[in-house]
Symmetry: C2
Subunit: 112 residues, 2 copies
DNA sequence: CCCTTATTTAACAAATATGTTAAATAAGGT
DNA sequence: ACCTTATTTAACATATTTGTTAAATAAGGG
């Protein structure tokens, strides 16, 4: 799977999305902390972390018996770059829509 | 599923990702054109289009017997906004990594 | 060396996703 | 009304995903 698509696949799952947001907020955390936060089992979290690792969304570092996980900023940049690559399409479209809305207001103004 | 996560889920599939890129490149297209471009069956494409619609990634417009599909720019903006919301995390991290790399170069310079 | 803690792997069941073909629906032309 | 074209829905098989519990692995302490 392409880098970008596997990143999207990884983030489409709620558990994994929450893990990524948590790691961005709190920084590097041991797997155990992510398990305690979650309602699902350790093995399930462990497999989610593997999916995130394989998608390049997180990296793992050993410290004694613990495994510390952190978000790889490059993965976020990959997504950002994709939106930027297509900005010409969507930003222009949104502006045009806003303008059309304004023009409509002139014809049939609302309370605000 | 949250808006953002269902957008990610929709884009994690290659067929759907390709459809979205095609529609951004060429603009509004009838379902039939998307079928002819693809190696998979009409019904399969039709179901992919439904997933994209339900995720808010595309919108459908009827014109006679044809159904014209187009990417909804808001969906792209939703993704862009998410990366921007977290830019403080990933951009700073990347800069720090670049700086660390530079510092290392000073200690053990390479051929370039 | 054994015990505890931290984490992953294995084995399996249930749910979800994706493709296929055949049938249904809808619009338009003759 | 009937036929053609465009698209979707239905029914079904298969593959993938995701959760569970039990067992395996790895590091460190006594």
């Amino acid at each position: 799977m392409s880098d970008l698509r596997s990143v999207f696949a990884a983030l489409s799952d709620e558990t994994r999305f929450d893990i990524v947001e948590r790691l961005m907020k709190d920084g590097e955390l041991p797997a155990g902390d992510l398990v305690s936060d979650s309602t699902i089992s350790g093995p399930a979290i462990s497999r989610h972390l593997k999916v995130l690792r394989e998608a390049g969304l997180v990296e793992q570092r050993a410290e004694g018996t613990r495994r510390l996980y952190a978000v790889r900023p490059q993965a976020l940049k990959t997504i950002s770059d994709w939106t930027i690559d297509h900005r010409a399409f969507w930003e222009v479209s949104l502006n045009r829509m806003a303008a059309a809305l304004e023009a409509e207001e002139d014809i049939c103004p609302t309370s605000d």
